[in-house]
């Protein structure tokens, strides 16, 4: 549309006497406001920067639309949308705009003509002086922002999350709805990976407001945790008020579920001799500097106290006479590890430690040594060199005798030698039953088999096979197969019952770097376990910076097996007594 603006100063000479030059805009819409970039600009505090806009409708009428909340004043009425007709007057602050019937200008026809009357004369004051230079008054004052932010923080971080805590009915909904603030915003830090399945269910552990997490909440899942001391002993009273959370720390970074600070242990263990009248274990304050020599336990049998049972017995490392293993196995590590090699069915063979000592699937511990898996490759139990299928079973004397008897009985029956021919000279004809042995013949055969079996048993037990590795004794007064006894063998598997040692973590070192006496050991009674000094070559105190810093829980555990449940209800009941 083509709009002509004629702007004059009210009451001025130019307005009264002569035609003021007009301004012609060709534009789809005429912008009106106080900003300098508006087509019709009126700098007045009652006029918004973008105050209104004038458009032409499809049916050729002029539509004035207010852009701000204060609307436009046309003919004295405040409107938001109004159609302008000739002689209508729009009031903009002190300025009035009159709609006039457009005249032709040359060949062009104006869509409309607006006559603008400004209230001041140009020589009186500058319009610029009327403009505002300071801060425009705004709703967005400092106190507005202060209240908005403060209330915003309160709503998001306290009021809505408080709903999760106070109203169990909406708890789940609030927690599961994304972007809705819940009590998860109060979490001081992430849960440990093992507890993350709890999700954002804070009240699973934080049951009562302003109360620290109770042990009973832990026991809902961890119901079979063992105690540190025997629950039947008096020592248990020391732990009566102990919280699980004293050692198992949540919501902290780095996420460590088990606190490794060894003061948790050394508070007692550094002065155990003063706390207990009969300390069975010595004081320990730090691995590198204040830790007793390793105490080893070997399996042994006390036939008087517990006949037939292997029990761990603590060894006294200061007494060389008793500081030995009593596995009753004859074994020389030195012989087996001979660098020149050792005789094997496949010729000379140089053995390595790992040929016999194999780790279990986790790599942490060694699998038990067994005759069948580790020894039988070289140590054959064959007794008849003409019969490759002959062999006695291991570990059971009666079974061995039975095999020997069966072997020689079969030999008696199958034999074609001169001794036997007289008994079996009449061949069985086809269609005839086998000839029954007479009672006499049977006795003769059994006697022969028993004699041969005993002869062979004596050879095996006393001369060449069993006796190589086992202690074989003769029972006084006994005869026949009952005259021998093999002392049972049991190799100690767990030398340090209170310690967790991980072989896999030490795999980069050769076995003999720790078990350094193995290559020289000639007797199975030799103790090949390293002493603490050996460990200290690499492991230092908890705060050692020159060695691998080693705290208590690197090797020891707090919750020990077979001590009884760490039952806080029972502890509490005892504490209240």
């Amino acid at each position: 549309m083509l709009i002509c603006l004629i702007r004059e100063i009210a009451g001025s000479a130019s307005a009264a006497h002569k035609q003021t030059p007009g301004t012609v805009f060709k534009t789809a819409e005429l912008t009106i406001g106080s900003a300098p970039d508006q087509y019709l600009q009126v700098p007045h505090k009652e006029v918004d920067p973008q105050h209104a806009v004038l458009r032409m409708t499809s049916d050729g009428r002029l539509l004035l639309t207010a852009l701000g909340p204060r609307g436009v004043v046309v003919n004295g009425h405040r409107e938001t949308r109004v159609v302008l007709y000739p002689n209508d007057t729009l009031q903009l602050g002190d300025t009035s705009v009159k709609v006039e019937v457009p005249n032709g200008f040359g060949n062009e026809q104006y869509t409309c003509l607006l006559r603008v009357s400004d209230p001041y004369a140009p020589d009186e004051t500058s319009p610029a002086a009327a403009a505002h230079t300071g801060m425009r008054r705004s709703r967005f004052t400092i106190s507005f922002w202060s209240w908005t932010l403060t209330l915003g923080v309160a709503v998001v971080f306290l009021l809505v999350p408080m709903g999760t805590f106070l109203a169990p009915s909406v708890r789940k909904l609030l927690r599961s709805t994304p972007l809705v603030p819940s009590d998860a915003l109060w979490s001081a830090g992430p849960l440990h990976a093992t507890h993350r399945f709890i999700g954002n269910d804070c009240t699973a552990c934080h049951v009562n407001a302003f109360e620290r997490v109770r042990n009973s909440e832990c026991e809902k899942c961890h119901d079979d945790v063992q105690h540190h001391v025997d629950v039947r002993s008096a020592d248990v009273a020391v732990f009566d008020r102990q919280r699980c959370a004293a050692c198992h720390f949540e919501h902290k970074e780095p996420a460590t579920l088990v606190l490794r600070d060894q003061r948790l242990c050394t508070d007692c263990h550094a002065r155990l001799d003063k706390l207990k009248s009969d300390p069975q274990i010595e004081n320990a304050a730090d691995f590198g500097s204040h830790h007793p020599e390793f105490r080893l336990a070997v399996l042994s049998r006390d036939e008087i106290v517990a006949p037939g049972q292997w029990q761990p017995q603590w060894l006294d490392s200061s007494n060389a006479a008793t500081f030995k293993e009593s596995s009753h196995l004859k074994f020389s590590h030195a012989q087996h590890l001979n660098p020149q090699g050792i005789k094997s069915p496949k010729g000379e063979r140089v053995l390595q430690c790992g040929d016999c000592h194999r780790p279990n699937s986790s790599g942490r511990e060694m699998m038990p040594i067994r005759m069948e898996t580790q020894c039988s490759g070289c140590h054959s139990l064959h007794f008849d060199e003409h019969d490759p299928t002959s062999g006695v079973p291991h570990g059971n004397l009666q079974a061995m005798f039975r095999v020997l008897r069966e072997h020689f009985s079969r030999q008696y029956l199958e034999s074609t030698g001169p001794t036997m021919r007289t008994q079996t000279d009449r061949l069985r004809r086809p269609g005839q039953e086998a000839r029954q042995m007479s009672i006499d013949e049977q006795r003769r055969a059994r006697d022969w088999a028993d004699t041969e079996s005993l002869k062979m048993a004596r050879e095996l037990l006393e001369k060449r096979v069993c006796v190589d590795c086992h202690d074989v004794t003769r029972v006084l007064g006994a005869s026949g197969f009952d005259q021998w006894q093999v002392t049972p063998v049991r190799l100690t598997q767990n030398w340090m019952p209170r310690v967790r040692f991980n072989h896999a973590a030490h795999i980069t070192k050769p076995c003999t770097s720790c078990h350094d006496t193995a290559e020289r050991s000639k007797r199975s009674s030799d103790i090949l376990m390293p002493r603490i000094a050996k460990c200290r070559e690499c492991h230092g105190d908890a705060n050692d910076t020159s060695k691998l810093s080693s705290d208590c829980v690197m090797c020891h555990r707090f919750h020990l097996p077979q001590r009884g449940r760490f039952d806080t209800a029972a502890l509490k009941a005892r504490a209240s007594q």
């Binding site: 003021t20 300098p36 230079t133 801060m135 400092i142 830090g189």
Partner: protein, 297 residues
């Protein structure tokens, strides 16, 4: 030596805050808690309590500076303490946190504290450096003087223009009306961009009128400079145009100074728009932090 809030009583509060910070830092470094350092150790609780009390004290400055009748210390002393102890409080709160941050209300409180301190630092910088710079560029003129001078220039220009032609009068009147003095909302004051426009092609139909930018009065000066002596123009008219050019140049200089002045004033004020609301939000977050830590102990 002039006593400002920086060197108030020979840096009394600077020293107090420095010593307090040093003690806190050394204690933190020497402390060997059984758990990883966090707000829940005995040192954590101690530092947290100190920091919270400091924040309350710092917020009280907002009340003290409005109580002109108060005799609890001098306003400048309070400001000095506010500045130095505010910096120390941030350090103490940082150590209280044990450097553990996450998506929670506790970190929100800490971040708000950092923002409040940062905006405060900006305020200190503004108060120390801007008044001098403002004096330098403003000379002895006050803002009303600027406006009066600009109005005078406009008025002289219009008077001259009337003697030339109605078109010239309209051009100058529109130019004066459409002058952007640098006011308006805070953002416009800070940005300080000259959005003045000029309406060209007045009364010269059938040429269309057009709105062009008149930043630094450049469009006006160019339009005036392009007026060539025509057949109808007289000596008097040409000299008037010359005079108009001089007036437009003077106005451009004045406008630039006024704009800078407005910008400085806005910069001096803007940080309070951050500092005070953020401080209120911090107080709220701090209360929530303290309550919720013990609610879910």
């Amino acid at each position: 030596m002039h006593q400002s809030f920086i060197n108030f009583r020979h840096y009394r509060y600077g020293l107090i805050a420095g010593v307090a910070s040093l003690i806190t830092l050394v204690t933190y470094l020497l402390d060997r808690p059984r758990v990883p350092p966090n707000g829940g150790t005995w040192l954590g609780y101690t530092l947290g309590t100190i920091a919270a009390l400091l924040v309350i004290f710092l917020a009280l400055f907002g009340i003290r500076k409005r109580s002109f009748r108060s005799t609890i210390g001098t306003a400048i002393g309070w400001l000095s303490a506010h500045v130095y102890l505010g910096l120390a409080a941030l350090l103490i709160a940082t150590l209280h946190s044990g450097m553990h941050f996450g998506r929670n209300v506790h970190t929100v409180a800490y971040v708000l504290m950092c923002l409040v301190t940062l905006s405060g630092c900006w305020g200190v910088y503004a108060y120390v450096s801007f008044p001098g710079a403002m004096m330098q560029q403003r000379g002895n003129l006050r803002r009303s003087e600027f406006l009066r001078q600009i109005a005078e220039l406009d008025s002289s220009s219009l008077e001259l223009a009337e003697s030339i032609s109605p078109q010239m009068t309209q051009l100058l009147a529109e130019g004066a009306r459409r002058t952007d003095l640098g006011g308006g909302n805070l953002w416009k004051q800070l940005r300080s961009r000259d959005e003045s426009t000029l309406l060209l092609g007045i009364g010269s139909a059938p040429r269309r009128s057009s709105l062009v930018s008149n930043a630094n009065q450049r469009a006006l000066i160019r339009t005036l400079a392009e007026i060539r002596p025509g057949r109808s123009s007289s000596e008097v008219a040409l000299s008037s145009v010359q005079k108009l050019l001089e007036l437009a140049g003077s106005k451009a200089v004045l406008l630039q100074r006024l704009r800078r002045e407005t910008q400085f004033a806005a910069l001096l004020r803007i940080w309070l728009f951050l500092h005070v609301p953020l401080c209120c939000a911090l107080l709220a977050a701090l209360c929530i932090h303290v309550v919720t830590v013990f609610l879910y102990w």
